[in-house]
């Protein structure tokens, strides 16, 4: 059990660190939070109907990612508010759906803080598969993603389809979220995505180094949190997320001391 959990957390943390760099650079943390909540009803509905959870999540998530992309491109629309509406609406819908089932509070708490100790072999395979795909996409598209994220106007002038690249990134984030949330929960997903990348950001601005550092920090936080959880019998999701926070705080303090 612990063995599977260890493998899963290494895979998930690598995935989170990789995508986290883009999320932190483009300030998409709130979007990611909203995505974790908004895909929730899709996952629940899928489990009620009996189709694959991942497919259910991906289907709703894709709709939402495209919706947000459309909303935020349109003038006269407060994107933060629209994202917030999506978040609360999605969560309420998911909670309402889940309440119709038995085992209600158990499912809900595992949605929030995950159940990494109960991952199956199939979960591991899926996570590994997604890791390979997302890694390939981010590696192949690194340059356009960096360019369009850093300087949209310049990228447009250089002939890049900025809108299309935004959609590529949002969809990739969404695939990561859908894969990661069922295993580790929304709160842990968000913290593993944001905190290591933010910590790495304090040390370097160069994308390859930044990504490597973020992945290493995420994996280290994951393993440390898992050890703490096993030692003192606290929720694994929470101790991992606190380890990631600690990594950020230490980086920040060291950085202050250095400069």
């Amino acid at each position: 059990m612990i063995f599977r959990a260890t493998i899963e957390i290494v895979l998930v943390a690598t995935l989170a660190g990789m995508i986290g760099v883009h999320i932190v650079m483009r300030r998409l943390s709130f979007f990611t939070m909203a995505l974790t909540h908004a895909t929730f009803p899709g996952v629940v509905a899928a489990s009620i109907i009996g189709v694959n959870l991942l497919l259910g999540g991906i289907a709703t998530g894709a709709v939402i990612a495209l919706g947000v992309a459309a909303l935020s491109r349109r003038r006269g629309q407060n994107a933060a508010a629209a994202t917030g509406v999506l978040l609360s609406g999605g969560f309420a819908l998911g909670a309402a759906l889940i309440a119709t089932q038995s085992g209600f509070s158990r499912d809900l708490s595992s949605f929030l803080v995950g159940s990494i100790l109960t991952v199956s072999d199939q979960d591991l395979l899926i996570t590994a598969g997604v890791l390979v795909i997302v890694g390939a996409v981010l590696l192949l598209c690194a340059r356009p993603l960096l360019f369009t994220g850093f300087d949209p106007a310049g990228a447009r002038a250089a002939g890049l389809a900025v809108g299309a690249w935004d959609v590529v990134l949002l969809l990739t984030i969404q695939v990561v979220v859908v894969t990661v949330v069922p295993a580790v929960g929304t709160i842990l997903a968000l913290s593993l995505i944001v905190a290591p990348a933010a910590a790495a950001r304090l040390w370097t601005d160069r994308l390859p180094l930044l990504t490597t550092l973020a992945m290493l920090l995420a994996v280290a936080s994951g393993l440390a949190g898992l050890a703490v959880s096993a030692q003192w019998n606290v929720a694994a999701g929470a101790s991992i997320s606190l380890s990631a926070t600690l990594a950020l705080l230490v980086s920040w303090a060291l950085r202050k001391a250095v400069s």
Binding site: R75, G76, Q77, N78
Partner: protein, 242 residues
């Protein structure tokens, strides 16, 4: 009202951005700060608002509540749900304080200021629906309702159409005739020559201060703009990318 800088250096977080500032401005005078981008024009204006640091020299600045400030309208959110009237009323907020309700005198002051900038018919429109030039005029009206003795304007003619520019220039002349001192930054030399009675040439340090006739000459401008100035054969100077 007295504004006097003697050998002042300015900057942020202890780092100097502008040195050797010598200014003297009396009521009703109009001072234009001229120089290329990054010359320190904004730093100088911000120093009068206490938003940049005075790192040396002596600066005599009037108390904050007699200073008005007109920011660049381009920095404001065009979707913000606020009417033109409300924006102008913000100029009265400081005198209204926390509790006092808006009175007739406040409303009248707002109406008069809007009339002065020629936007009475837009009073109930949303701020963001106005053109760039009209927005700038609204912000000017907001500064006027507070009846400042010293008015600071940051690039008031940036992205402003000809009609609005004329309207703003007229209002500024009227204000200075009524005794308000003006400080405005601009990189438009024609406007500066037309409007100001004092020009201050800046680029990291103060190069010259004086009347437009003294300062807006090829020989004075050349060192300020350095490689961005091109000499023409007939003795005139052309500024590239000012």
């Amino acid at each position: 009202m007295e504004l006097r800088y003697t050998g002042v250096s300015l900057g942020y977080q202890g780092k100097k951005a502008l040195i050797d500032v010598e200014i003297r401005l009396k009521a009703g005078q109009r001072l234009a700060l001229v120089g290329p981008n990054g010359a320190g024009k904004s730093t100088l204006i911000k120093s009068m608002l206490g938003q940049s640091e005075i790192l040396g020299g002596t600066a005599i600045i009037p108390p904050r509540d007699v200073i008005g400030y007109v920011p660049q309208s381009g920095d404001l959110d065009p979707d913000f749900p606020v009417s033109v009237q409300q924006v102008v009323m913000m100029g009265r907020y400081r005198s209204l304080g926390w509790w006092r309700p808006v009175r007739k005198a406040d409303r009248q002051a707002v109406a008069e200021a809007l009339d002065q900038v020629g936007l009475t018919d837009k009073a109930r429109n949303r701020f963001g629906t106005l053109s760039g030039g009209q927005r700038q005029r609204v912000l000017l009206a907001r500064a006027i309702v507070a009846q400042p003795q010293l008015l600071l304007l940051d690039e008031p003619f940036n992205g402003v159409d000809a009609v609005s520019q004329d309207a703003i220039v007229t209002v500024l002349r009227d204000l200075s005739a009524a005794g308000t001192a003006l400080v405005l930054s601009t990189h438009d030399l024609a406007v500066a020559r037309d409007l100001a009675d004092l020009i201050c040439l800046l680029n990291g340090r103060q190069f010259a201060v004086g009347t437009p006739g003294e300062t807006l000459t090829a020989s004075s401008l050349r060192p300020v703009y350095a490689h961005r100035a091109l000499d023409l054969a007939d003795g005139r100077l052309v500024l590239v990318d000012p």
